[in-house]
């Protein structure tokens, strides 16, 4: 193996162990790194060689499983695809994903987010019932282009960390869940948008959103969740209007 230039960098990591700590606090670690090393690899080397008690989620190392989201220098990032060479000379502040409760160290509570994505009827309600034996539904590339980017969401929650309105209102359905909702509403094979309407109304629906737009900037997969949320404001308004009209006509 060719010799690699080694540099040293300091990482200041927010620690919190529920068993012994009342509050989180920063701890400083020094890591020797090479040019291709990611923040995740730095965390792993700290865990392996310096402090085995550091807890963080990770798996794929290639920005597709969505496990390793955290705040790196104040920005929500995936640790596996953030490189120390871009953060040098440091020190680098690392904290758990903002706007979420901390379970421990860099591990945040994910369950509420998962409940949100489960709540939006995240499955095809077929427009046309067809048995599997009859073959695939047809869908042209143009029809797929209408929803495909929304289907690229890896559920990493960086968008929630970037969203100050979610920070203010934890019950806000949020960008990620709305992207998934729109993924299905926009799919030519699906006919479930009426069922999904109830979820988009009110403060916990799309109306907490004030188009800050940082969710789409933070997204590592170019899903553009801001688009999903904001286009549904029209749908929500229309539905509200139509319901009011319908009520008027009822005797």
């Amino acid at each position: 193996m060719a010799d690699q230039a080694r540099h040293a960098i300091e990482l200041q990591i927010l620690r919190y162990r529920p068993a012994q700590d009342d509050e989180p606090y920063f701890v400083s670690y020094k890591v020797d790194y090479t040019d291709e090393m990611s923040v995740l690899e730095a965390l792993q080397s700290i865990k392996d060689d310096q402090d085995g008690s550091l807890s963080f989620r990770w798996s794929c190392r290639m920005a597709v499983c969505g496990s390793c989201g955290m705040m790196i220098e104040g920005e929500p990032k995936l640790a596996c695809s953030t490189f120390l060479r871009d953060l040098a000379p440091g020190p680098v502040r690392i904290a758990p994903l903002e706007n979420f409760p901390i379970e421990r160290d860099l591990v945040v509570t994910v369950a509420d987010f998962v409940k949100k994505i489960e709540s939006i009827y995240p499955f095809i309600m077929p427009k046309e019932k067809k048995p599997v034996e009859a073959g695939e539904y047809l869908q042209t590339p143009a029809q797929m282009a209408a929803y495909e980017p929304f289907s690229d969401c890896i559920n990493c929650m960086l968008c929630y960390a970037a969203c100050p309105q979610f920070g203010a209102n934890p019950d806000f359905i949020g960008p990620g869940a709305m992207a998934l909702l729109q993924r299905y509403n926009g799919d030519s094979r699906d006919t479930g948008s009426r069922e999904r309407l109830d979820l988009i109304h009110g403060e916990d629906g799309v109306w907490s959103c004030t188009a800050v737009g940082l969710c789409s900037e933070a997204c590592p997969k170019l899903v553009d969740p801001a688009n999903a949320v904001n286009q549904n404001k029209t749908n929500s308004a229309f539905d509200f209007f139509l319901r009011a009209l319908r009520k008027e006509h009822r005797p």
Partner: protein, 129 residues
């Protein structure tokens, strides 16, 4: 009783003033500028209603240094508001598919901005002639 004890970090009350949200906050404030300018125009309209003397006083006020400075600030606010409005525009629409591919959001923004500038130009030329 397990060890589990999630820690909830309070959102910074001044989050909107931090560097990350500064651009957003300025954009929102520009809306205030638009409202203030609406107030100025309303004041002018009201002065017309009150009569030629009131209107003349209003026009005189417009040429005071304070009013000039105010209008410069409001112009900046209007421009910021307008440009960010058109940047947000494509976010409020479903994806536009033309020829099998999605139209880039920048294209929509630029087209809308272009149209806005044309309209502005038309109004200005019309007003001057």
């Amino acid at each position: 009783m397990s060890e589990r004890k999630p820690y909830i970090r309070r959102q910074d009350r001044l989050w909107w003033a931090s560097r990350r949200y500064r651009a957003y906050t300025l954009r929102e404030l520009s809306g205030v500028g638009v409202a203030v300018y609406g107030g100025v125009i309303l004041a002018g309209l009201y002065s017309v209603r009150r009569g030629p003397d009131a209107y003349a006083a209003f026009v005189e006020w417009l040429s005071t240094p304070f009013a000039m400075a105010l209008h410069l600030v409001l112009l900046a606010a209007m421009l910021l508001h307008g440009i960010t409005w058109f940047q947000t525009l494509p976010k409020t629409m479903p994806r536009l598919i033309v020829g099998g591919e999605a139209v880039p959001q920048k294209t929509i923004t630029n087209a809308a901005l272009g149209m806005a500038m044309l309209c502005t130009l038309a109004v200005v030329i019309g007003a001057l002639s």
